[in-house]
């Protein structure tokens, strides 16, 4: 039975902050097939195309038929925990300060034996389900969970090391004027966040939904304008050391392409809000988050980017917007590398057209702000890195995997 987490006490500012360490994150290139699966919350192993043998650890040659055709495929995740041990002495500094640490051998129904981290509610000799998780180093590891959910199972210390669960954490929603920002505040409050800071620029200007936003439990409105370096810096100085998750909801959506749009004014605004806004947030909040990656129950955990799925493939109807989103995606990849030493994850949430005024003329299917917010919270609870929300986002991702050139041509209409 998992002991439920208790709300962390106020931190003694005189006490030293435990510095983040990472477990060994080096993997063979082939093994990063598991990292790719873990990033999206899938359970995939190599399956030989010729003889169908399911293979683990990752190999470059099938141990049954010597084939080299070994793609990663989703496979059933059930298995039996055959033997377990509790590691009490570790040569690795990360595990040294986290022992005792349980690991075990799981015989998968699909075939291979996987040495896995064990959730506290797993029992030797009983069935388990395996997941691949990204550990603090950003590499995939197998984690065995009890076959059926157990009370408070998300609070298990091994599991929580690999997720960014908002429970008892403090969140900053960067822009509360948008419908997405407001939905996000509600979702994080419902998920048990300790404080939901919501940034509002020019607070004297009223906006739709303001009263409702103020009524959400544990919401604290703070001044923040992502286009103003001074405002971002001030907010970081004020609250940066107690913000564990940032969700950048600042948006700038305008239709129009590159050739047919006149002048640079809108493009500059787009870049200022989205790309430079992201950079301001990263520079102001990134260093302290990276420093606080192992700071107890409410350690710094994640930076969430909301990205149009058209960051992955330009949509000429919203061509300049897509380009700005692509710039943000590239920046997010850099931030991932920079925040990884602190064990802070960068979650990229790719969404299709939203059910908001800026996508008024776009036909369905569209994503409601509430659905987007729910997907963000779920992604953090699962500890994944890449989330696709909505049918359009899923469609683009699938077509991109098959034939990017066809997709590019078809996006032109």
């Amino acid at each position: 039975m998992t002991t439920p987490l208790t709300r962390p006490k106020r931190k003694n500012p005189l006490k030293r902050t435990r510095l983040p360490l990472n477990p060994q994150g080096v993997r063979s290139r082939t093994a990063h097939g598991l990292t790719a699966a873990a990033a999206e919350g899938r359970f995939a192993l190599q399956v030989c195309e010729d003889c169908k043998t399911v293979i683990y650890p990752p190999r470059d040659c099938c141990p049954n038929c010597l084939s080299a055709r070994l793609p990663f495929r989703d496979v059933p995740r059930g298995g039996m925990l055959v033997a377990e041990t509790t590691v009490r002495t570790s040569t690795d500094p990360y595990f040294r300060e986290r022992t005792p640490w349980r690991v075990g051998s799981v015989k998968l129904d699909a075939g291979p034996v996987i040495v896995a981290h064990l959730h506290g509610d797993t029992v030797e000799g009983a069935r388990v389900r395996l997941e691949f998780k990204l550990d603090k180093s950003g590499a995939a590891v197998a984690l065995a969970l009890p076959e059926q959910d157990t009370p408070h199972m998300a609070d298990d210390p091994h599991l929580r090391e690999m997720t960014c669960d908002p429970k008892f954490r403090r969140v900053l929603i960067t822009d509360g004027r948008t419908e997405v920002g407001q939905a996000m505040a509600k979702a994080f409050s419902d998920a048990g966040a300790n404080i939901v800071f919501v940034g509002i620029a020019d607070q004297w200007k009223p906006f739709p939904g303001m009263d409702k936003l103020r009524q959400i439990e544990r919401v604290e409105i703070v001044p923040l304008d992502v286009t103003d370096t001074e405002s971002v810096t001030e907010q970081a100085e004020q609250n940066g050391s107690r913000i564990d998750i940032i969700v950048n909801t600042a948006e700038h959506v305008r239709a129009g392409g590159i050739v047919d749009r006149h002048g640079l004014t809108v493009a500059r605004e787009e870049i200022d809000v989205r790309y430079l806004g992201l950079m301001r947030l990263a520079q102001a909040f990134g260093p302290v988050m990276r420093f606080r990656g192992a700071d107890g129950v409410n350690s710094a955990a994640a930076f969430v980017n909301l990205l149009s799925v058209h960051a992955l493939m330009n949509w000429p109807t919203y061509g300049a917007y897509s380009a700005a989103e692509a710039a943000c995606l590239s920046a997010a990849q850099c931030m991932r590398a920079e925040l990884r030493p602190g064990g802070v994850k960068v979650l990229n949430v790719f969404f299709g057209p939203l059910e908001t005024e800026w996508f008024q003329t776009v036909p369905p299917p569209k994503v409601t702000p509430a659905a987007l917010a729910k997907a963000v919270v779920r992604g953090l609870q699962q500890g994944i890195e890449d989330v696709f929300v909505g049918d359009i986002a899923e469609d683009i991702r699938a077509r991109l995997a098959v034939n990017p050139k066809a997709l590019e041509r078809e996006m032109a209409g």
């Binding site: 080096v26 033997a83 377990e84 041990t85 590691v87 595990f95 690991v103 040495v115 180093s137």
Partner: protein, 389 residues
């Protein structure tokens, strides 16, 4: 149809060399290997030029392999092999060398093994031990071999009812044997109370189930009987050997080693039964593997290891003398030299020159090797039967 294997006619082992172990060393593996080679030439009364065959086993000699060492040591062998099979290296080196000498590819083969132990070298060896270890073992608690063997031990206990006391008995007997070895890492008698109350390392593995990593080197010469005679060297005969890699890949968790595949051939080739053997040297990185070897080498049936252990003393002066120089559990694990520790002492026992307590009337010995936890199990197994000349 399989061809009958040729006997090791007139092939002998001589000049067993041990460079006394040290817990930590600031020297390189090259230094330790060089000391063993130097000591071999002195013990055999030969010059480096007389060595025309060489095998090398070492974990920490990288980036060099056997070929780089020929230039480092100024040797010009006409036959050379690098044998990186960890605990199976000793027996495997013997097999390779014996056939080379038998075929006339070399006359005198030096089989050397050794490793250094810098303050941080153990951790580094663990994290990069193999690709599977890097991808699928080390990130899981980084307990190293301790946690891999903990799973094997737990599984074996579940299957066959072995108890910690049974493992303890083996460790205590080996400690008794080590008390007469001056360079053993562990110098104090071990009691069952101390064994049982030792701190847990990776349940059910506790402190005294684990070897102490150290620096050291071991070596022997393999040559023809007439060569050894002309040098005036005491020698032992090689009767039979086996070797097997990655056996029983379908076992969910390892509960047997590759010996089980080849054991009939080993005893048939030796012309002996298990009960004829005077002393047994197993590879003892953890006591559970010792118990498996008793079963798989035919000293008892599968699953009867715990009962077999309860029925013997395993000391040099008792019944079923085993790991006569204390084994790695008490004398220390000098890396790949651990695969030679039992070999050198068996040769000494069979030529009446033991470092520690002598086994009375030692006529023959079994040396067993086990090595390379690549992912979740040891891949290599090997064994040799040696006899007094």
């Amino acid at each position: 149809m399989t061809h009958r294997r040729a006997a090791y006619d007139n092939i002998v082992i001589c000049a067993p060399v041990t460079i006394p172990y040290r817990r930590y060393s600031t020297h390189s593996a090259h230094w330790w290997l060089g000391r063993s080679l130097h000591e071999l030439t002195r013990a055999a009364g030969i010059t480096p030029k007389d060595i025309d065959g060489l095998t090398v086993s070492s974990f920490t000699v990288g980036p060099d392999t056997a070929i780089g060492l020929t230039q480092h040591f100024g040797l010009s062998p006409r036959w050379l092999d690098h044998i990186p099979f960890g605990g199976a290296s000793g027996v495997v080196a013997l097999r390779r060398a014996a056939r080379a000498v038998q075929a006339g590819d070399a006359d005198i083969v030096a089989c050397i093994s050794g490793d250094t132990n810098h303050v941080d070298s153990f951790r580094k060896t663990l994290s990069t031990f193999s690709r599977f270890a890097q991808d699928a073992v080390y990130p899981y608690g980084s307990g190293g071999a301790n946690s891999s063997f903990a799973l094997i031990t737990k599984h074996y206990m579940n299957l066959y009812g072995a108890k910690r006391e049974d493992f303890g008995k083996l460790c205590i007997a080996q400690r008794d044997n080590a008390l007469s070895i001056p360079f053993a890492m562990m110098k104090k008698k071990l009691t069952l109370d101390e064994y049982m109350s030792a701190r847990p390392i990776a349940d059910p593995v506790h402190l005294f189930d684990c070897v102490m990593p150290c620096a050291g080197a071991e070596a022997v010469l393999v040559c023809r009987e007439d060569t050894a005679k002309s040098l005036g060297l005491p020698m032992v005969r090689m009767l039979a050997t086996i070797e097997r890699h990655n056996a029983f890949g379908g076992d969910v968790i390892q509960h047997r080693g590759g010996w089980e595949v080849d054991i009939g051939e080993l005893w048939a080739m030796a012309g002996m039964r298990p009960s004829d053997v005077s002393l047994v040297e197993t590879y003892d990185d953890y006591p559970v593997i010792v118990m498996m070897q008793f079963e798989d080498l035919g000293f008892c049936k599968k699953g009867e290891g715990p009962d077999f252990v309860r029925g013997h003393t395993f000391t040099n002066d008792g019944t079923f003398p085993h790991n006569t120089s204390g084994g790695q559990l008490s004398t220390g694990q000098a890396g790949a030299a651990g695969g030679f520790l039992g070999l050198t002492d068996a040769v000494r026992q069979l030529t009446d020159r033991p470092i520690g307590t002598a086994v009375a009337d030692a006529q023959s010995a079994v040396i067993s090797g086990f090595g390379m936890i690549n992912y979740d199990r040891g891949l290599s197994s090997a064994a040799a039967v040696l006899a007094r000349v």
